[in-house]
Amino acid sequence: MPVLSRNDSSVLGRWWWTVDRWTLFSVAALIGFGYVMMLAASPAVAERIGQSRDIFILKQVVFLAIAGLLVIGVSLLTPRGIRRVALAGCTIALAMTAATMLVGVEIKGARRWIALPGLSLQPSEFLKPCFAVVAAWLINEGRRTPRFPGMPIACGLFALIAVVLKSQPDIGMLAVIAAVFFAQLYLAGLNLFLVGMGVLGLGSAAGAAYLLFPHVRSRVERFLDPSTGDSYQVRTALEAFGNGGLLGRGPGEGHVKDILPDAHADFVFAVAGEEFGMLVCLIILGIFAFIVIRALLRQLQEQDLFIVLASSGLAVGFGLQAFVNMGSSLHLIPTKGMTLPFVSYGGSSALAVALGIGMLLALTRRRNHGDLV
């Protein structure tokens, strides 16, 4: 790390002294874990994907490098710039998500991916951070500017996203976006009656998903009573944690990655638990908790409602994604395929998460009355 003078007033110099360096280091640590886990899981996954191991590793190294650069690059932007990026991103991602219906690749019964050379892109991954920022802007603008119907537009946009995601179907992503949006509404000061209504609404939506979508129902039933169905994945994951114990079996010594088809993505936490043990898992968990809670608590000093809502939305989305991933592999919640930010293998996911974290870093930079210090 080049030593930057406090007086350095170049773009990078100002960035270095104003950015939330603790979060930045935390993200760097996560990316480091991402490398390690990729090396651990690569032989098994490379074979499954049908690629040579070298290409496989090279691709992920490139993706993680791009993700790191994306984090830094986006965090250089001003809040205004973030707002513009988010607006553009939200529009493009929504359009592409809708386009998956037409040109998408169907994998395991859902059309969520668009095939690009080198990677298959899941546009809804990008929709999540972008919509958080856009929603924050709309809510704040609705407050600030009279007769600007910010809230109705935000709700309408959310409804549109909900319809698109429901028809993919991608109920898990919809649930996270809904939770993020609801958290933003709550933070924006929604009265408690409406909060109660919202909780009820989310609950009934979950119930409807349970009744309407067979795969949702089977997952929940398997979670509630493992004996009813095939709880093989969760059971194997738990065995992997048990196998790992306190210090793990050692790098490359695990075998859950050979057994579970999604070990490199949805069950990467189990791979970490088996090979590196509870302590390393606790460190990963601690980093996620640190990033999320620090991001939320830092908003206590923030005066700008837009910044508060956008940062909180990004942090909540990031945190929920991590929680769902870790909770699934530990049988704390029904299994839901969601990547562990930066740690899981996958280009699309890493870039989307990098975009979100970059925005969060940009928004939480220290500034004076809206201007960067």
């Binding site: 065995e239 944690f241 048990g242 306190l246 050979d258 043990g277 509870m278 508060v308 909180s312 530990l330």
Partner: protein, 632 residues
């Protein structure tokens, strides 16, 4: 934020958080704030309190993950592959030796032995190799390695099965210990062994149909294995059969020899203890190696002795004669008209080489006269005949402990017309199994007690069963059976010193369009020694063909009776019966009955032999084509 310019300078200025003390912007105690701004600040305050709540919520979630993580890794770590534990249990060294030993013994299927303790069936420990494909990391490599150890596997198939999503597949059953060791040494994860047992039949073809067999899971599927499935499974002590493998081997040997000599398509032989009903030998040819039950043809698996239903033919004349004598309606020296063929409906009953005169009852048996037997049956009537047959067990299953035992083919009572009475009198129009015939013969010879045939060794020596005739009737019948061998068609069964008696029976087989002219079932049912009956010997050939040595005959007297004689000569010493030649004169006298009242005395053996040769020559000149009668 707006500051009121008219307010007093602050007494105790507060500073904004985060700003240095010097040059800080003082906050006034009294400030004017615009209403929208005030609202905005209140809203921000509410937002902040809710932010703390949200952070707390996340804290809760992450702590939950933390607790669950600690629980899953060190507090209650899940042992790997619990589902496989059960199957793998036999391999883990048992903590307590005693119960494990017991459990193993309990699982072992009981042995089957013959009456002398020779092992007929035994379970040997063996292993099956199976896989949990979900744990097999590299199906192709695993299949390749397994192929090296077990060349009988198909590599492609194994690879496909190992790549499936199942959790349990058998790769090979009943592998050898060497193969198990070699597979274990391959160290392929997801491959396991299951301790099983393999049923072996050390005697191979001996008693194959009686023993039956077990399926791949060790459950009996035929024969004794099936009938005693529960017993063999629950009780580890050996199941002792009544069979004597030595007798079984002799019967098989003589049967296959006769079968080869006369080009028969099948053969059947039974040796039964006439007092207890124990079956010492039961052979059905063709047979098969019991260890290769799966490769056996259906014909080989068919047990002719209990499943095959054949018209008994002239052997049934023993039943007709016993019934008549026991009823008291017929006297031994009554005569029956064999001079004219009987025409009834569209049937004609005639004699083979008939005497064309009236015959005494002993002559009816010795010359095997159909006309005589038909007249006796007519005298008795349908009702007594049916009652007799029922009491002799000819209308139901024999009750032997074999699941394959068949039901006799008997005309229904409503259809039991006169012609049926007549033909059944000489063993036609009814079909029973060889075991039915043997039991009936045993009952006639043993003093009149119908034994229950059994394949299991019994300790009792005394006659078991129900009395079906008077002792005196049985005594007379013994003499008549002996007469058939000394003076009738059964001469070739004679064994010096064993005094066998019996009855021949040759029946044309029933085809799709009536009787088949040149397809016979030739049987000889006999008991020895006739002075103190111990064993019934039954020998039957299915579709024998005449040879030059038999002068063109394929009848029971030529093909089955000699085989029975050879069996008696060989098994007698084995069963502790030595030929009694010293008391020959006395025994011959005690068994003597003349063909006709007061005409002949007991002939000396050489005379009988000459007599036999003369009759044979006579029969040859008469030729087989002279009769269209199915029974001889």
């Amino acid at each position: 934020m707006t500051i009121d310019p008219e307010s007093e300078p602050p007494q105790s200025p507060t500073t904004r958080r985060g700003t240095p003390r010097h040059g800080s912007v003082p906050l006034m105690e009294t400030v004017w704030v615009t209403a929208p701004d005030l609202n905005r600040r209140a809203a921000l305050e509410r937002t902040r309190s809710r932010l703390v709540l949200a952070a707390g919520g996340f804290m809760f979630l992450f702590v939950a993950v933390l607790l669950k993580l600690v629980d899953a890794t060190i507090i209650q770590p899940l042992p790997a592959h619990q589902p496989e534990r059960h199957a793998a249990q036999p391999f883990s060294p048992p903590a307590d030796e005693q119960p494990a030993q017991k459990a193993l013994q309990h699982e072992q299927r009981a042995m089957i032995t013959d009456r002398n303790g020779e092992i007929l069936a035994i379970s040997l420990p063996t292993a099956s190799v199976y896989a949990n494909p979900r744990e097999v990391a590299d199906a192709a490599e695993a299949a390749h390695k397994l192929k090296q150890v077990l060349p009988r596997l198909d590599e492609q198939t194994v690879r496909a099965r190992l790549s499936s999503e199942k959790q349990f597949i058998y790769l090979a059953r009943q592998i050898t210990p060497g193969e198990q060791l070699a597979i274990n040494r391959l160290g392929i994860p997801g491959i396991y062994f299951e301790q099983t047992e393999k049923r072996r039949y050390p005697m191979g073809r001996v008693a194959a149909q009686i023993l039956g067999g077990v399926d791949v899971d060790g459950h009996g599927i035929a024969g004794v294995e099936r009938f005693f499935e529960k017993r063999l499974h629950d009780d580890p002590s050996p199941l002792r059969l009544a069979l004597d493998v030595r007798v079984q081997a002799v019967v098989r040997d003589e049967l296959s020899r006769a079968m080869q000599e006369f080009g028969a398509i099948g053969a059947c032989g039974i040796v039964m203890d006439v007092r207890t009903g124990e079956v010492l030998a039961m052979v059905s040819l063709p047979d098969y190696d019991a260890n290769k039950e799966g490769e056996a043809e259906a014909d080989a698996r068919f047990n002719r002795a209990v499943t095959g239903m054949y018209e008994p033919g002239s052997t049934f004349k023993l039943q007709t004669a016993s019934m008549a004598l026991d009823s008291g309606l017929v006297h031994i020296w009554n005569q029956f008209d064999a001079s004219h063929n009987i025409h009834i409906g569209r049937f004609t009953i005639s004699d083979f080489e008939g005497k064309h005169r009236w015959l005494y009852l002993p002559e009816v048996l010795a010359y095997s006269s159909n006309l005589g037997a038909a007249h006796i049956a007519q005298t008795m009537g349908a009702e007594r005949q049916r009652a007799w047959l029922r009491s002799m067990g000819m209308l139901a299953r024999t009750g032997i402990e074999l699941p394959e035992q068949g039901l006799p083919i008997v005309p229904p009572a409503a259809n039991w017309r006169d012609v049926v009475t007549l033909t059944v009198g000489f063993g036609h129009g009814i079909a029973v199994s060889p075991l039915h015939v043997v039991r009936g013969t045993a009952a006639i010879a043993n003093g009149g007690i119908l034994p229950r045939p059994t394949i299991v060794d019994k300790d009792e020596e005394s006659p078991q069963g129900t009395r079906v005739m008077q002792q005196s009737t049985s005594d007379t019948m013994r003499k008549l059976m002996r007469l058939v061998v000394t003076n009738g068609y059964g001469k070739s069964a004679e064994v010096p010193g064993y005094y066998p008696g019996g009855k021949t029976g040759t029946a044309e087989k029933v085809g799709h369009h009536g009787y088949k002219k040149h397809a016979n079932v030739a049987a000889f049912t006999s008991v020895f020694p006739m002075n103190a009956p111990r064993y019934a010997v039954y020998m039957m050939l299915d579709e024998p063909h005449a040879t030059a040595a038999t002068h063109g005959y394929a009848t029971a007297g030529w093909v089955a009776a000699p085989a029975a004689g050879r069996v008696i000569a060989r098994i007698g010493p084995m069963l502790g019966l030595l030929p009694d030649l010293t008391d020959k004169a006395a025994i011959d006298a005690s068994l003597y009955i003349p063909l006709r009242p007061g005409r002949e005395r007991a002939p000396a053996a050489p005379v009988a032999s000459a007599n036999f040769r003369r009759e044979a020559a006579l029969r040859m000149t008469a030729g087989p084509a002279t009769s269209h009668d199915p029974a001889r």
